[in-house]
């Protein structure tokens, strides 16, 4: 399918230099000399790298039909992560290098959204937040009341993040898997 660059919207998938990218933002821009433009930030779905590109707003852009399908994360080995579509029982494989650091926040048995194009898995849609249990953390030193102070805590998937001093082992925290930032303590 083709569309005018001037109609591009955040979240759409396009073909750019032969690869599939997702539009992160698309801002109209009219320099008042020559064509009106669309300034886009594109994210390569395979390597998550961002590219800024300025389209002419009346330029034709190839859009790509990409579905986001909920799947169960089964397991990983040294090279790949394995997912299953629970409706069709089809299994999908995504290389580790595509998922990148996000893999450290994924818990086997949990459901995540996988981007699929022509029944081929492209990558994982990063969840806005993941909820994981703390398995190791330093005890807060008594009297340490500096506001905003943080300590290191190890989550059940093995990754370590900075959390506020009051958070304890066994508690569940919400973390942004793209930045590794703690957002809040949550109830089970």
């Amino acid at each position: 399918m083709k569309t005018f660059a001037g109609n591009l919207k955040r979240g759409e998938f396009v073909l750019y230099q032969g690869e599939i990218y997702q539009i992160q933002k698309a801002d109209f821009y009219a320099p008042g000399k020559g064509s009106a433009l669309m300034k886009a930030r594109l994210k390569n779905v395979k390597n998550a790298k961002n590219v800024d590109f300025t389209y002419k707003s009346s330029e034709s852009v190839e859009t790509v039909d990409v579905e986001s399908i909920e799947m169960q994360y089964l397991y990983k080995d040294t090279e790949n992560l394995y997912f299953m579509n629970e409706r069709t029982y089809n299994q999908y494989t995504i290389p580790y290098e595509v998922v990148g650091d996000l893999a450290q926040y994924l818990k086997e048995g949990n459901n995540y959204f996988v981007y699929v194009h022509n029944d081929e898995p492209l990558s994982l849609r990063p969840p806005a937040s993941v909820r994981l249990k703390i398995i190791e953390a330093e005890e807060a030193a008594k009297g340490d009341t500096v506001s905003g102070a943080k300590k290191l805590a190890k989550l059940e998937t093995g990754v370590s993040v900075m959390v506020p001093l009051f958070v304890k082992v066994g508690e569940i925290v919400a973390v942004n898997p793209e930045t590794g930032e703690y957002s809040e303590r949550v109830k089970e």
């Binding site: 801002d27 821009y29 000399k33 020559g34 064509s35 800024d52």
Partner: protein, 332 residues
């Protein structure tokens, strides 16, 4: 579209008002006369890349098309020709087919000021003085911080358009000023050129490869001498390849556009016809050409220069915010 109220923008709005006050104080102090202008006009300057808002005057069976002015230039040039006054206007300008974005609004505030017996580089000096004055009124300094970077108003970083294309886009002067060679270079870089004009592709490369590098090395950047295709209402340089036009940038954001004004009525009329033809070809609203503007040039426009500044963008820089929206208490 929906009317939105943003009381949380009150702090930046107050700063915006201070910037307006500092601007008026500076220009009035330099004896520019502020001109209060209409926003409706029965005829306009034809500009091939602008779409306009149309409306209508109605009285019984009389109907007369009116247009919201995309810039106050058509009015101010009359004041310059008949009055020979240094003057300015700070008011609303309207551009259709421009959706809201971080740096765009279909209705925006434009500052235009004109100086008699001057060229574009005299305006550059005046402009630096204006920005210094605003910085000193706001912060008591001759510099500001925009998105973590220090910008000093002690001087300009000056660069010609040809230098910028060579430095940032690796397109040399010979290719820049030769339409077909330029399009060849663009195709090699991967830009789509089929079905587009030199102006379109120039604009795309300019925005993609040049603009992010302007106004990012400690000083505002003055980019000057545009290919004659972008002369609009500007006088040409003696080389006849470039126009006496500059644009200025801070933090990669284009803030304004200045010319040494074209004073030759014959050449202006020819350019108008060319622009009007392009408007028809691209299906833009076919508004009447402002003949009175050409009359004013025939009466005699002395050497002068002027600049148009997107005032919300300038204020956005001084307020150190990244969207013009954040200055507004009410938006649609």
């Amino acid at each position: 579209m929906k009317i939105q109220t943003h009381i949380d923008h009150l702090d930046s709005y107050r700063l915006y008002l201070k910037i307006i006050a500092a601007t008026r104080e500076y220009l009035n102090g330099k004896k520019y006369l502020e001109i209060d202008l209409p926003v409706l006009s029965p005829a306009l300057i034809p500009e091939s890349y602008l779409e306009v808002y149309e409306t209508e005057f109605r009285y019984f069976d009389t109907k007369k098309k009116l247009y919201l002015t995309p810039s106050p230039e058509l009015f101010l040039k009359r004041i310059l020709a008949y009055g020979e006054l240094d003057c300015y206007s700070l008011g609303k300008a309207f551009r259709n087919s421009e959706p809201e974005s971080k740096l765009h609004s279909g209705e925006f505030t434009m500052l235009e000021f004109y100086k008699m017996h001057s060229s574009y580089m005299d305006i550059a000096d005046e402009l630096l003085g204006l920005m210094s004055h605003i910085a000193s009124k706001l912060y008591g300094t001759n510099h500001i911080t925009f998105q973590g970077k220090n910008i000093s108003f002690a001087e300009w970083e000056r660069m010609t358009v040809a230098e910028a294309f060579s430095r940032f886009a690796d397109i040399d002067e010979t290719d820049l000023f030769d339409g077909s060679r330029f399009m060849e270079q663009a195709t090699k870089k991967g830009y789509i050129t089929t079905g587009f004009t030199y102006e379109d592709v120039f604009s795309q490369i300019y925005s993609q490869e040049i603009e992010p590098n302007l106004g990012v090395r400690g000083y505002p950047t003055l980019l000057y001498d545009y290919p004659k295709e972008f002369a609009a209402l500007a006088a040409l340089n003696p080389d006849r390849k470039t126009a006496q036009r500059f644009e200025f940038y801070i933090g990669g954001v284009e803030l304004g556009d200045c010319y040494s004004e074209l004073t030759d009525p014959k050449e202006q009329e020819q350019r108008f016809q060319g622009e009007a033809r392009k408007r028809r070809e691209t299906g833009k609203s076919d508004h009447p050409i402002d003949k009175g503007f050409l009359e004013a040039l025939k009466y005699g426009l002395k050497e002068c220069a002027g600049i148009a500044i997107g005032f919300e963008r300038l204020a956005m820089i001084f307020a150190d915010i990244s969207s013009i929206d954040a200055l507004k208490l009410i938006s649609i």
